[in-house]
């Protein structure tokens, strides 16, 4: 009973992530890749993403904190990597902020970069929390019962 409830909750949570624009189609692609050979594939990928991208975020932060003038090329390059990484899990909002950031870089708009980066970090952290909560719930719902795309 409780399990069913958990599962329902899980499904609702998952759907809201899509509805609210946190995740896009790519996340579904990942879910489809998950199989018996890799039953926790999506969670592993998400974990990997957050671990690896943390480095980039720090680098960008560092670069932004450096005295002016800002090295827009470097920032753009970092963000390019970050964007690529974020696209791997379907982090939609994060990706959008990345694109915006890159545009500010190209325009040489430091202020815009700083602003966008703050926004980006917010989205990045929010998504992380949501996904953590999601997987926690998934574990409660049953080890192999992570909500999958309804077939």
């Amino acid at each position: 009973m409780e399990r069913n409830q958990s599962r329902r909750q899980l499904a609702v949570m998952r759907q809201s992530l899509f509805d609210q624009g946190y995740l896009d189609e790519q996340f579904i692609q990942l879910e489809e890749l998950q199989d018996d050979a890799n039953p926790n594939f999506v969670e592993e990928v998400v974990t990997l993403y957050y671990r690896d991208s943390a480095r980039l975020v720090t680098s960008i932060e560092q670069a932004l904190r450096d005295k002016s003038p800002l090295d827009f090329n470097k920032l753009d390059s970092y963000m390019h990597q970050f964007k690529g990484s974020s696209s791997s899990i379907g982090a939609k909002k994060v990706k959008a902020e990345s694109t915006q950031f890159r545009e500010y870089c190209r325009a040489g708009n430091g202020e815009g970069c700083l602003r966008t980066f703050q926004q980006l970090k917010k989205e990045y952290t929010t998504l992380k929390k949501k996904l953590e909560g999601y997987y926690q719930l998934a574990r409660q719902a049953g080890p192999n019962e992570i909500a999958c795309r309804p077939k």
Binding site: Q29, L30, L33, V45, L48, D52, R55, S77, S85, S87
Partner: protein, 573 residues
């Protein structure tokens, strides 16, 4: 023959079992792509660094059917990797990027990419990649057949298998002939089916390429033509067709180098120096190529003696080596890379030797400004490879010693001429070699790596010994070749108390890796002993990357810290 995963693809279930090599510095994407490709029933190998990829490709010349690579990678530009793969292995390469700007895509196509995918990549896109493999095979068969129609030629075959070679076109149906030959050569393959036929792809080994460049230089780059090159090369099983396609790639390669050099020149002295270093590195090795020391006009960097370059390489190689060990496992956890790659390593080692022997190095290297046309330089870089090998031999002994010392902790290196210990991480060996080459490019901060083994301390000191310049030269890494190598090297260097010896060990390690195979060719470590002999067995690959790296930026390529970070990052995965 699917025992170790490196065998040729199964013809019956094509495209299943297609052997794909994926290169991407993003560990998340690497994991995803691996899973996706496995779902397509492909055989997947992953790589986090371009140089690792090159290593793997060189190790197993025919071990992969297609390469998928990201455009942006820390150690090497994806386009460069693309070029190398095209030139050396002639495999189809697919580029990937999150950036879909037309200019980038166009650049990819120009460099020879057979496709350009945008991230995020969909399953259906990956399911279709076998078409590129198939298409290439068909074209190759067609090329050979059409060629046969026009000339009496010998069917191109791998040099080793000469038994069926030597027949002239007799007017027989070429397709039939080819099929017959195929069958006799490749048991399991149905040569009639192009999709599975192991076409006699010409492997442009270091040796072969050197002959090629030699011929090109003799004829004169401007007047060159496939037929003339072929005649000069005097390689019986090679066809005009093979030469023509290789020439085309070579031209592209040179023009790219030229552009880069032009940029560098305009950018300033340093860059120029760097590039010159590159050439120098390459030049040093080419004794046979008539390169004169600082003879800018000829575009030949004389390493008449042989030593300066070697040195450069050493430090780098060492680096690479280390890196290789480290990174290889990371990128390919599943692959028991038991590589016995004697050749690649040796080739590299020799190169390294050459570098060090570049005596004038300090000055000469930096002086590339005098360097004439880039093209010449580039040419040399290509041709250098063979040279390197020679030198290598003499140095190898020494390297080995250093090598044995080398264990992953590159802290203690002491060069002991007779001390050769097989390096445990052999798998990375060959790759290590490669890397070492890159490593040589290590940052200028590294002390000049004097490849010359301890034995020739004097000798070395005369030349490069910790010539900062030489080190700089080595640090071509900027171009990404040896990012890791550089850092590695640097860290190694840090550990090592200054002194050639320390350098050598690192270099040696690299070389050792190569040499693991127990190929101690009588390498007298002394520099003076650079024997001119060239052991074909050693020369296995064209460490073009080496030259490439040499060619590129000598600028302080990377902050070692940066590299370690990168490494860390990889480890995280």
């Amino acid at each position: 023959m699917m025992e170790n995963g490196f065998s040729s693809p199964r013809s019956d279930t094509f495209p299943a079992g297609l052997r794909v090599l994926v290169v991407d510095d993003d560990p998340t994407w690497l994991k995803i792509l691996e899973k996706m490709l496995k779902k397509c029933s492909y055989e997947v190998t992953t790589c986090g660094l371009a140089r690792d990829a090159l290593c793997l490709l060189r190790e197993k010349k025919d071990g992969y059917d297609i390469v998928i690579s990201d455009v942006n990678m820390p150690d090497m530009d994806g386009f460069k990797l693309l070029e190398h793969v095209g030139l050396e292995m002639d495999l189809p390469v697919i580029m990937m990027s999150v950036d879909g700007e037309t200019s980038r895509v166009m650049k990819g196509v120009q460099h020879g990419a057979c496709d350009y995918l945008l991230k995020p990549i969909r399953m259906k896109e990956l399911r279709n990649i076998w078409q590129h493999v198939f298409r290439k095979r068909i074209h190759e068969v067609r090329d050979i057949e059409s060629l046969e129609g026009f000339e009496s030629i010998q069917m191109p075959r791998y040099g080793t298998d000469q038994s069926d070679d030597g027949y002239l076109f007799t007017g027989e149906d070429p397709t039939v002939r080819k099929r017959k030959d195929c069958e006799s050569k490749y048991d399991e393959q149905d040569c009639g089916d192009p999709s599975s036929s192991k076409k006699a792809r010409v492997v442009w080994s270091v040796d072969l390429h050197q002959k090629f460049v030699k011929a090109v230089n003799q004829i004169g780059f401007d007047k060159v033509g496939p037929k003339r090159i072929l005649d000069l090369m005097n390689v019986p099983w090679l066809t005009r067709e093979n030469v023509a396609s290789h020439l085309q790639k070579y031209r592209l390669y040179l023009s790219r180098l030229q552009k880069e050099n032009e940029l560098k020149t305009s950018a300033g002295g340093i860059k120029h120096t760097d590039s010159s270093k590159d050439s120098a590195g390459g030049f040093g090795l080419q004794n046979s190529m008539n390169i004169h020391h600082n003879d800018v006009s000829n575009g030949s960097y004389g390493l008449s003696g042989s030593n300066s370059f070697v040195q450069n390489l050493n430090p780098k190689s060492l680096d690479c080596e280390k890196k290789g060990i480290v990174s290889v496992p990371i990128t390919e956890p599943k692959r028991a890379l038991t590589v016995d790659i004697p050749n690649p390593c040796t080739a590299r080692s020799s190169q390294i030797d050459f570098e060090s022997s570049f005596a004038p190095r300090g000055g000469s290297q930096v002086d590339f400004t005098a360097f004439g046309s880039t093209i010449i330089a580039t040419q040399y870089s290509w041709s250098d490879v063979p040279e390197v090998q020679f030198r290598h031999e003499s140095k190898s002994t020494r390297l080995e010693d250093g090598f044995s010392q080398l264990p992953p902790s590159h802290s203690q290196h002491h060069i002991q001429a007779d001390h050769i210990k097989p390096v445990p991480s052999i798998s990375s060996g060959s790759c290590a070699v490669d890397r070492s080459n890159h490593a040589n490019h290590a940052t200028s901060t590294e002390s000049a790596i004097d490849p010359l083994p301890v034995q020739n301390k004097n000798h070395i000191t005369n030349h490069l010994a910790f010539d900062p310049l030489s080190t700089t030269a080595l640090s071509l890494t900027n171009q990404g070749f040896n990012l890791s190598c550089v850092s590695d090297l640097e860290s190694t260097q840090r550990n090592i108390s200054s002194g050639i010896e320390t350098l050598l060990p690192s270099l040696d390690e690299d070389i050792k890796f190569c040499w693991l195979q127990g190929d101690y060719l009588a390498m007298n470590l002394g520099l003076q002993d650079f024997p001119e002999y060239y052991d074909p067995g050693i020369v296995s690959e064209v460490p073009i990357h080496l030259y490439d790296a040499l060619r590129h930026d000598y600028d302080n390529p990377c902050d070692p810290t940066e590299y370690s970070l990168i490494e860390q990052g990889l480890f995280i995965v």
